[in-house]
Homo-oligomer: 173 residues x 2
Amino acid sequence: MALFTSQGYDATSLRQIADRLGFTKAALYYHFPAKEHLVIELTRPWLDAISNLIALNQSAPGMDEGTRRRRLIEDYIDIVLAHHAVLRFLTQDAAATKHPDVGRRALTLVLALQDALLGPDADDAERIRVGCAIGAVHSTAMMDESTLAAARPIIVSVALGVLGLEQSASSAS
Amino acid sequence: MALFTSQGYDATSLRQIADRLGFTKAALYYHFPAKEHLVIELTRPWLDAISNLIALNQSAPGMDEGTRRRRLIEDYIDIVLAHHAVLRFLTQDAAATKHPDVGRRALTLVLALQDALLGPDADDAERIRVGCAIGAVHSTAMMDESTLAAARPIIVSVALGVLGLEQSASSAS
DNA sequence: GTCTATAGGCAGATAGAC
DNA sequence: GTCTATCTGCCTATAGAC
């Protein structure tokens, strides 16, 4: 992950990875059938987490719309913060972005999240605002791990503000 | 640019570029000394525009802090919208991100913009908010050109809101 | 499970004719 | 300015010994 993130997927060779891990390229192929499976497995936990989040959200019972959206964006922020390294990699790497099981899947999931954050009858302006909110959340990919710990409440406040869901109390997850 | 954006820099070969342009690899090398110069020239206008913006902002005379920041973020939004294709490419491609004259320069410039959007005595929380605002602006990279035309006022409103610079009237640039 | 050795391909870049 | 032909190198992936 460190190599992929610092150099990009295409620019990172199996030789470099094997050297870092202390064995040879051939040994890598005993554990993974191809290079792309390395990045699939590295990103799967994050993708599964989002997939889960959306599934749970859809099967939610009759719940107030405002709190539903608030919980959704807050939970997404927690996922993004928990998988910081994955987001940093994915938002930067075009090669990963193009892969069906990685970037394409990520795009589909984020678009689904975007839809879930909208009501069924939202206009283009609201779509753009939601896109901005997600962009603000994803800006954490650029931050270093140290400032990230204290960042959560601020990110939550910004995202809720952009979405028009401000609320002063009860934001613990 | 189309090939770089859709496939990534590393994954795009000079053969593909030459084929698309209707001549051969060797002819490319008459006009550009190396592959990396293609991406340098493609991104230079955007980078120069930001560089200019920051330089002009620094040499501004005694001006109200609020309007200074408002103008700065609005002008940046205009640059981002005008160079939409460049931003889309740069935010996605790790290979470009690593190049000193492209991604590194872009990072330096965006950080300088971030500093310029802060007062000299801002805390970490304010830093994060500014980062979120820029993230929201950069989310336009994900939008398609059609919805982009109508997006400007919404982006401006979101960014000013996150920065705490809301103002109802006089937002024409 | 890890190794050495190598196959097979395509990349970026150059030489030199026209 | 564009071409054909080619060099050199590294890449992913595989074969087969241990």
